[in-house]
Subunit: 267 residues, 3 copies
């Protein structure tokens, strides 16, 4: 495993360098709450965000963008067809799609829409928290969940089901983050306990996942590691979630490869 | 009155503790400008925000949420039926509704919609600034307004009219804040002159009012006191409204009961 | 030219004083990403923002507002008629319109909509970056562009075409900003290289341009100079784009006339 971890860390560092060099364009159909922070996180890390949702321009945008991020945080019936059309365009152009199933399980609308988007996308990465991942996987996981020792176990079980069903990698974010790929499960222990007190942290993680998918790192590993490291650096300088929100953007901007390698807690 | 004030301060402190323990879920249908800050203010104080507006999920959400906040800051004809449907669901579930009539009086649309929402809600708290409260009360207050010595007097008069008409408590925010309930009028003198230079401060106050209503403190007093105290602590560390915006979030997160009791200026 | 520059600097300083005294109301139809920052920038500089888009209230709002800012950052088919209706109302009330053609050239929808708004407005100021200005001017500029030595030259050429075609002043923002008016071209060298890493900086510039247009300074010069100076003051105190975003708001709030005069780099 040690060699696999070294390879993974190398992949992460290379991915950061590549994003900064290539500045890939990432199209985001995301929620009203997190649009500003998401755009700033992408910019700070070196990517080029565009927030767009109109069907009238999505075919054009996806023809030259490098990835699509779909986040259902403030969903309504007008946005769902826009999201599905954008996924179609991503497929046509063979571009990866990151799905952030915000609040999946909290309403039938969110659960059904998440599944619809998941099934529609050809090159898919799913990024959610444990309860969203479990809800997305649905009944079959609930049954597995009986044997699960804790939420993380249930979520990783659910993620394996999703990996198989949707043919897409899965990122579960939480105190410990999990990255589930066909090659195996990675576990990351970066980040800080104050991060869940900032709205849209998960949304930023999904957006960064999109930036790395845009340059070919489709496991989600680089985004988890880099936002986790940036978050813990930022938390050390923050008096609360207000300052943490902006210090994370600063930390993403300043993050150097040496610090990243030293801090990554991967297993 | 001294004993009543002591009781009120005790209520405020207990309310903060209860929100932090129970982390009540507050559904917000609010404006595009303040969504991020509003969510962050709720999180920092210990509540759980969800920003949602779709009719397709509102019945479910209001069945397990503890309060609804309706803010008309960026109103349009598509959002009005969503707001009214959400109020209906809050009523069905016997949940309190906070109405923030942003810009009431600036357009007929805003005035009419504010009144429609106010009349629809069974358990109502209204939170506005003096001019919004006066506009919401309409002509009858204008007549009283002739005798008013200043805006505050006119607004408190208007608030009494609203209390009677809508059977809901009223919070008037300004340099001095007023909380108008059937039990009497409270006056609070916390806060800072720089706070009106941060967009969405009133929206945050309405959201926090929703969090306290969610745990049964429906006067609005706790929200006014706590945001006022957080605001003055934050202002002392801020170079302008940019840093104030985030320092208030930090101050809400850090606020301890002792500091709160020491600083509340209630009469 | 020296006397012309002295006059221009005097105009800028007077404009700032006037905005702070008159607190003009600026109606903004802008994108979801930048609404919060745009409102905060306007408030910090002393203007009064309202973010509104409903046709049902736009006639009323434009009857007492002093300027309209239209920003197409998150455009869709529902917002276009709202934008055109607002421009109509601005025309009826003889109010200036600032057009921010975000992403013009990136999609046919954005290019066509920008031109439609530009043609509709009677008193127009256009604010974009070089590529947006070049795209807005279209083929005729592309031809000129062949001879252009660099992007700036091409953009200034395009701006002259726009000035003639739309009868509106043009602001091109970038490392060097250009203000193109019938009286001549001004060049400003304030600002900081970190500013493009903050989302919505251009949107803030367009909004401030609206505030100055509201008090009769319709060249765009004051907004460019003031945001540039605020940006470089803020950058000196910032660790990255996260802190820069809020420090700019603080700097706008604190900016005094003496500092402004000392720092303006106008030619």
């Amino acid at each position: 495993m040690n060699q696999q971890l070294d390879t993974a860390i190398n992949t992460i560092v290379t991915a950061l360098r590549t994003v900064r060099e290539q500045k890939p364009l990432v199209v985001n159909i995301t929620n009203y709450v997190a649009m500003n922070n998401t755009a700033n996180a992408l910019l700070a890390m070196g990517a080029s965000p565009i927030m767009a949702h109109s069907r009238q321009e999505m075919a054009e945008l996806m023809s030259f963008a490098s990835a699509l991020v779909i986040n259902i945080g403030t969903l309504d019936s007008q946005w769902i067809p826009r999201m599905l059309f954008a996924v179609e365009q991503a497929n046509i152009n063979n571009k990866p799609v990151v799905l952030d199933p915000v609040g999946c399980g909290a309403s039938a609308l969110r659960t059904a829409t998440s599944r619809q988007i998941g099934h529609a996308a050809n090159k898919l990465i799913i990024r959610g928290n444990a309860s969203e991942i479990i809800a997305l996987a649905g009944e079959k996981t609930q049954q597995k969940g009986v044997d699960a020792q804790d939420d993380s176990d249930a979520a990783v079980g659910a993620a394996h089901y999703l990996l198989e069903t949707y043919q897409g990698n899965v990122v579960i974010s939480g105190a410990t983050d999990f990255v589930i790929t066909p090659e195996g499960v990675f576990q990351l222990n970066n980040g800080h306990a104050m991060m869940p007190y900032v709205t849209g942290m998960g949304c930023s993680l999904s957006a960064l996942t999109g930036a790395f998918a845009a340059i070919g790192e489709e496991s989600g590993l680089a985004a988890v590691a880099i936002l986790g490291v940036a978050g813990e650096i930022a938390a050390a300088q923050s008096n609360g979630p207000g300052s943490l929100q902006l210090n994370i953007v600063d930390a993403l901007y300043q993050l150097d490869e040496k610090t990243l390698i030293q801090r990554i807690k991967l297993s």
